[in-house]
Amino acid sequence: MEMGPKNISRREFLRNLSLTALAGVSVPLLSSCTKEEAEDFLQKRYVEMTEEEKKRVIAKLEERYRQKYGKKFEISTKGPVPNTLWGYGLDLSRCIGCRRCVYACVQENNNSRHNPQLHWIRVIRLKRGNLINLENSEHYYDPALVPEPGFVYMPVQCQHCENPPCVKVCPVHATWKEPDGLVVVDYNWCIGCRYCIAACPYKGRVFNWAEPSIPSEEINPSVHYLGNRPRMKCAVDKCTFCVQRVRVGRYPACVEACPTGTRKFGNLLDPNSEIRYAIANKRVYRLKEDLNTEPKFYYFFEA
């Protein structure tokens, strides 16, 4: 190994090259990080925040949404109502597959409309007599009128399992089950690994593959931090049983939208609730019960 002037300059050259390379690598990466990402970088997990921190985060988000969408937002952080366990009922004999629930949900929950188009509810069409094997389902039916004879329609959304596989697999605790039974996501904590999407047996979770696109006029400004506040790119979201509504006693948007009264909602721990009546008096079943996820979505038939 020679040790002359030529060697020193080669070492310097190498040093300069590696520094330039590092700068060249980090500048485009850093510049493609948005201002929002930079602001939120050190934000803590929601459940670990103190009340003070929550207030600050809410104020920051309200300001951000106001600037982005031009409306005054109200972000609730209302906790679970004591002694509640939310349950959902669905009368499959009455679903006509009109998808009004799907779009009411999109409207209420500030879902991305296009690229990606995120529907938290998926209505699938099954042939009569063939209801368990979902492989024969049709998702994209588009007839002139519904219901079509010979078919049954089954809406599916996050089942808010009591034993949720998605919560088990999330590597960062970004999704968890609240005391009132709702499985929620802290959108600012999710790292976008999509393991939960692989784990969900009901396709309840969807991913914001790009920055969500919501027309400002259609924005719903009364939101909950864990529910329908506008999300950001590459975070997972899903039905929250309209956490912003049910914790103040209102029906979820899909229940109100259904024109045939298919959907039922209530508190499973209240023996006088509608959902308990349905479970006691109708032949209820749950999807994929053999997977032992204990979903809270009770389907039943009358005819």
């Binding site: 229940v255 909602f265 509608e274 008096n281």
Partner: protein, 170 residues
């Protein structure tokens, strides 16, 4: 003897309010019935008209109403009281207001009436707790003269992922 009579009186006094209760039925907070504009009270026309109990097709008024609801077994005056058109008529002749119409429907559709009272039949809106809970009348969703739901146009299907990359099934 005297005590026995007192006892009977006491029991009768006790029973009376109970019968009243049985007669009126439970109260449900419903929104107003969906009557056509200007048509109520019906007595403004019918009070001065003669009652014609013959089962026929109506030609002079209400021709737009085509009864399609057990029409082989009954007609208008089986549900609408002949003498007082402002009220509906139960099977035993008892008259009920339009906003208690569920009692009439419930006579034939007992299972559904039971479900409706428990809150699991039909559309639910508003608050299920901590706020104003409202029921909807049968007539809010079902046309009493032609109750079967007509097929409606569905909302559009979701976009195919990546513009239709192979999701068709044969």
């Amino acid at each position: 003897m005297h005590h026995f009579r007192l006892l009977i009186l006491f029991l009768v006094f006790l029973a009376l309010p109970l019968t009243l209760l049985a007669k009126e039925g439970e109260e449900f907070p419903v929104s107003p019935p969906p009557l056509t504009e200007g048509i109520y009270p019906c007595s403004q026309c019918h009070a001065s008209m003669e009652v014609n109990r013959k089962k026929r097709e109506l030609k002079e008024a209400h021709e737009d109403i085509k009864l399609h609801h057990a029409e082989t077994m009954r007609w208008c005056l089986d549900c609408h009281d002949a003498k007082n058109r402002d009220k509906l008529r139960l099977y035993n002749g008892e008259l009920v207001k339009f906003d208690e119409g569920y009692r009439l429907c419930g006579e034939c559709h007992g299972n559904i009436y039971r479900d409706w009272k428990a809150g699991i039949h039909g559309k639910r809106v508003g608050y299920f707790s901590g706020g104003k809970r409202t029921y909807m009348l049968c007539a809010h969703c079902h046309n009493p003269h032609d109750p079967k739901f007509k097929p409606i146009k569905p909302e559009p299907p979701p976009e195919k992922p990546r513009n239709g990359n192979g999701t068709e099934k044969h």
